[in-house]
Symmetry: C2
């Protein structure tokens, strides 16, 4: 198959990124952090694409990258030498992969249990690696993490003493708060979470435990969290590409990602069907929007079909292209092997989404 | 990475298929069709896995395979020489790929417009291929398809006359009806749809148009549709692996697919977090169920996390494995590159999900 040169050459369904919008988003975020003590650790899980991570790091103001899985970290290591796996890694084979990676780049993992600590420590000792660790604190999301305060200090003391493991500080993700659309409500919820993290940090300081990294936040809490003294880095991911779910918030970032489809059926004047269903564009945060077609809206996404309501008199014909703005970029990127980079209508790159999927598979 | 030999060796998250349950489902369906005029055309979109398709075809009673995309058809051609793409293909490049494939195996596509017909005919003439076609009829799903009756006959007449294209009959998918849980309601709705298709078939017969293939149905309408005189094949997909959405119905098939996860956090006695979120197990048909753990239920699927409510006194510990039964197999299979085949706890295969994703990507 020859590489497409123009937008209209791309076989659909496919993912496309507006590189100019992407670069504006990345530059805007880097400039926001340029004169702050708190820095950015872009979340690789949002796009899984080394070329996008490379641009984020090149723009500056970054401590490294955040990853959600060991496989993402292995891929991210091709462009970054300081990686936080902001997640609990507990399986023996997975911990061995973390240890192997830690012999090449600086790696830090999240820990919220002694079982998890023992697994990481064992893998580190087996390989002679040093693996960094943050104590993961539950700051209100009620997913992973130990309770703030004494429980965190108790685990931190064990982490600091574990062979092969270096305690580097604390992590807390206020995932229940970053998406609150109302600005004041979001500020209140984010601050309440981060205050729990910072109160635990003070207890760490008093106990002589390391606090060099206090990692938190996401795209919805960048300016709130970075203004709180003691937070050293924000794990924002969605800002680079954006989606319609984050666009509900008062954020200064543009949509840079869209799903390309082709109209395959035109069964009624007020309706068309395109070839981009939810195997090409997720709907876990709601249905996508139709880009550049005022009055059109997605009625349903089936596996392979988008059913789209059209405004009166719409001239859209079978064979015409449409573009969808995803409601959630992370899982949408995870459906595709490549994202086409566009400068206007010109295809200027075909970037591998190299960390798509899971690496348990023979590749 | 060495290949896993036991269930416990598989890195999570991962997909696993119980080969004995799979083979029982496949055999049961093949035996159901063994003495019928109506045959089965298993839908490859449900699993995208050549090894599963090979077993379906080997069990007999099949006319060929059904596919939803050109890429699936290209992959399916490795195990099958009679492929129906039960979807409208309209882009020039995609039509060229269909034509290229039609030079190797028998290919039939769905057509519901003159624009689509012209595109297929052009590609066929350019390559010297013969592409089969079914007129796609809207039997109530209101997705693709022309209206039953005169509109279908008018299009069928054009298809029959188009160079490079061979009219083979009609298709109509009652997607609005196959999932109705109540048996009587489902029967009524499926029959109403198929009667529209069969009324159109009679008009085709009267007009001298080909009706060798009258293709319809899905897993929820197998016995209803196959009992209606004139339906020549049923496009069932989900029966081989099953999911919790289809398990609501009165179907004689077993769950054969599950998502493997590892408990990574145990933040409270009544709750655990596993590493299999909706990037590993879709939730478009609802949250998955927890297998073999009575009283446990999935509270939420985030990108990388399953948050699971546990029954009182549950001894599940960090590092232990859990298994989820997906609510929808098609998009869940599409998230993974491989499915591990299990005989009990023994891994007897790692089957590539070779048609996962879209082939617009450089591979």
């Amino acid at each position: 198959m020859t590489s497409p040169e123009r937008l209209s050459d791309i076989l659909t369904p496919a993912l496309a990124v507006d590189v100019n919008a992407l670069d504006r988003n990345i530059r805007k975020m880097a400039e926001f952090f340029a004169f702050r003590r708190c820095q950015l650790r872009p979340h690789f899980k949002a796009h899984k694409t080394p070329e996008i991570a490379r641009r984020q790091l090149a723009a500056g103001s970054c401590t490294g990258l955040t990853c959600a899985t060991v496989f993402e970290a292995e891929i991210a290591a091709s462009v970054c030498d300081d990686i936080l796996i902001a997640n609990e890694i507990v399986g023996a084979d997975s911990c061995r992969r973390v240890a192997a990676l830690a012999q090449q780049v600086r790696v830090t993992v999240a820990i919220d249990s002694t079982i998890g600590l023992d697994a990481i420590s064992l893998a580190a000792r087996e390989t002679g690696a040093t693996i960094g660790a943050l104590v993961d604190v539950n700051v209100g999301q009620n997913r992973c993490g130990v309770a703030p305060g004494a429980s965190a200090v108790a685990l931190g003391t064990l982490v600091a003493a574990a062979p092969g493991v270096t305690l580097r500080g604390l992590m807390g993700y206020e995932g229940h708060a970053v998406g609150i659309a109302d600005r004041r409500e979001r500020e209140t919820a984010v601050r309440a979470s981060m205050q729990q993290l910072l109160a635990t940090k003070r207890m760490f300081d008093e106990a002589g435990l390391a606090t060099a990294m206090i990692s938190a936040g996401g795209t919805g809490s960048v300016d709130i969290g970075s203004a709180m003294d003691g937070i050293t880095e924000i794990q924002a991911g969605s800002y680079a590409l954006m989606d319609t779910d984050y666009a509900r918030l008062d954020l200064p970032f543009e949509h840079a990602l869209f799903v390309l489809g082709t109209v395959i059926s035109r069964p009624a004047p007020e309706r068309c069907v395109a070839d981009c269903g939810h195997k090409a564009c997720t709907k876990d945060h709601g249905l996508p929007s139709v880009k550049d077609l005022p009055g059109a809206s997605v009625l349903a996404l089936n596996d392979e079909h988008a059913i789209i309501a059209l405004p009166p008199g719409c001239a859209l014909a079978i064979g015409d292209r449409i573009q969808l703005l995803p409601s959630h970029i992370d899982p949408t990127m995870n459906l595709h092997d490549v994202v086409y980079a566009l400068d206007g209508d010109e295809v200027v790159g075909a970037w591998p989404i190299a960390a798509r999927g899971y690496s348990g598979a023979p590749r």
